[in-house]
């Protein structure tokens, strides 16, 4: 018997290239002949056979990751066809990206939002373009008082760094920073709790079978965008305050 040389050009996504039987589109291996399948046009969720939900059981995700790592590993295909070798390399790297993204709560949320059509990296620019075209002032995506607070705290941080450089230690600044650290860590923790609530909402909407145009689905999505926008400032603050506090005097 000749080995069948797979030609990705002529493959139907639902037919195993080797035994030509029908298989699941997202399946990594043929259910009949167990052969490795070419990378499907899948997102990170479907790569793991998951629905687009935000509550993920990290334990089973990890187990699935290790299972697939072993099964997709290029070493396994060292003697297989060139195509299979290629697929195993492609899928292994996809697997790593998918796992790294999904196991991190924030990266997972951001990734889902991108899948849902949000351009997190571009929202600011589009709002600016719009404001310019209309001759209006752009609406900042976070409340002005948060910006004010962030700015002030950054000023304080800078002051503290400066006095440290001069070998001084300003007790008042240090105290303010400690207080700010506590406050912002609380804010960050609070926003993580809020995010989890939104995950819950999201998963319910998805479980209810809402399609991409569903207004409720879009509403939850936009709430998550707003929350992540706020969060980025707070996260920076916590990072910078901690840096300033732990830096050697």
């Amino acid at each position: 018997m000749h080995p069948v040389v797979p030609n990705p050009e002529t493959l139907s996504a639902v037919t195993c290239w080797s035994c030509l039987k029908e298989i699941d589109k997202a399946a990594h291996f043929c259910a009949h002949c167990t052969k490795l399948q070419p990378p499907a046009d899948s997102d990170y969720f479907s790569f793991f056979g998951l629905q687009r939900r935000l509550n993920i059981d990290l334990k089973s995700l990890e187990q699935e990751f290790y299972r697939l790592s072993r099964k997709l590993h290029p070493d396994v295909y060292a003697r297989a066809t060139e195509h299979e070798q290629q697929w195993s390399t492609q899928k292994s790297s996809l697997l790593n990206d998918a796992y790294r993204t999904l196991r991190d709560p924030i990266a997972r949320t951001e990734y889902l939002l991108e899948l849902e059509g949000v351009k997190l990296e571009e929202q600011s620019r589009s709002a600016t373009d719009e404001a310019r075209a209309q001759g209006k002032e752009k609406q900042q995506v976070v409340p002005p008082d948060l910006l004010e607070e962030v700015f002030e705290l950054n000023m304080q941080l800078e002051e503290m760094r400066m006095s440290k450089k001069l070998g001084e230690r300003d007790e008042q600044v240090a105290k303010d920073l400690e207080a700010a650290k506590v406050r912002f860590e609380q804010t960050l923790a609070g926003s993580n709790t809020d995010l989890q609530k939104l995950w819950q909402e999201w998963d319910q909407v998805i479980a209810g079978g809402a399609d991409a145009a569903d207004p409720q689905r879009i509403a939850v999505r936009d709430k998550m965008v707003a929350l992540l926008n706020r969060r980025s400032y707070v996260r920076n603050l916590v990072r910078d305050v901690n840096e300033a506090l732990t830096a050697d005097v």
């Binding site: 310019r132 209309q134 001759g135 900042q140 700015f151 950054n154 980025s232 400032y233 707070v234």
Partner: protein
């Protein structure tokens, strides 16, 4: 991330870092942030009430090198322009001048936002006066 020479120059020798009196009637203050990264920028202008020319501009940016360079450049550019001329500065002009890579475009957006916010604040202070009654020119 390889920065262009112009970015490095502005970063090492930022022009017009500082503060203007926020309460002054001739000063407009713009405080803006980039949600993509959580960086913040404040840009202030002092406008001649008679000519509407921006005579002084100061900035303070807590952010990446590109944001610092963008705001530094923005203060240089707005100086000597009337407020309405300054409103025609686009983030893409900054991107071009500083050769910013695509991932740093939002840093230049921040600078344009800051200019517009500062001018907006100044106009608000003058609402009702002749200067502010003149509509902002929308330039594509």
């Amino acid at each position: 991330m390889a920065y262009s020479n112009k970015v490095i120059d502005h970063y090492n020798n930022p022009r017009n870092v500082g503060t203007l009196d926020k309460g002054s009637n001739d000063v407009g203050t713009g405080l803006v942030g980039a949600p993509e990264c959580g960086d913040v920028m404040r840009l202030q202008i002092r406008v001649n009430p008679d000519t509407q020319v921006i005579e002084e501009a100061k900035f303070k940016t807590f952010g990446c090198g590109s944001a610092i360079a963008s705001s530094s450049l923005a203060t240089e550019w707005v100086k000597g322009k009337t407020v309405n001329e300054a409103l025609t500065i686009k983030n893409t002009d900054i991107v071009k001048e500083l050769s910013l890579p695509p991932v740093k475009i939002h840093c230049s957006v921040l600078a344009e936002d800051a200019i517009r916010a500062a001018i907006g604040d100044w106009k608000k202070k003058h609402a009702g006066s002749e200067a502010a009654a003149e509509p902002v020119q929308a330039k594509a």
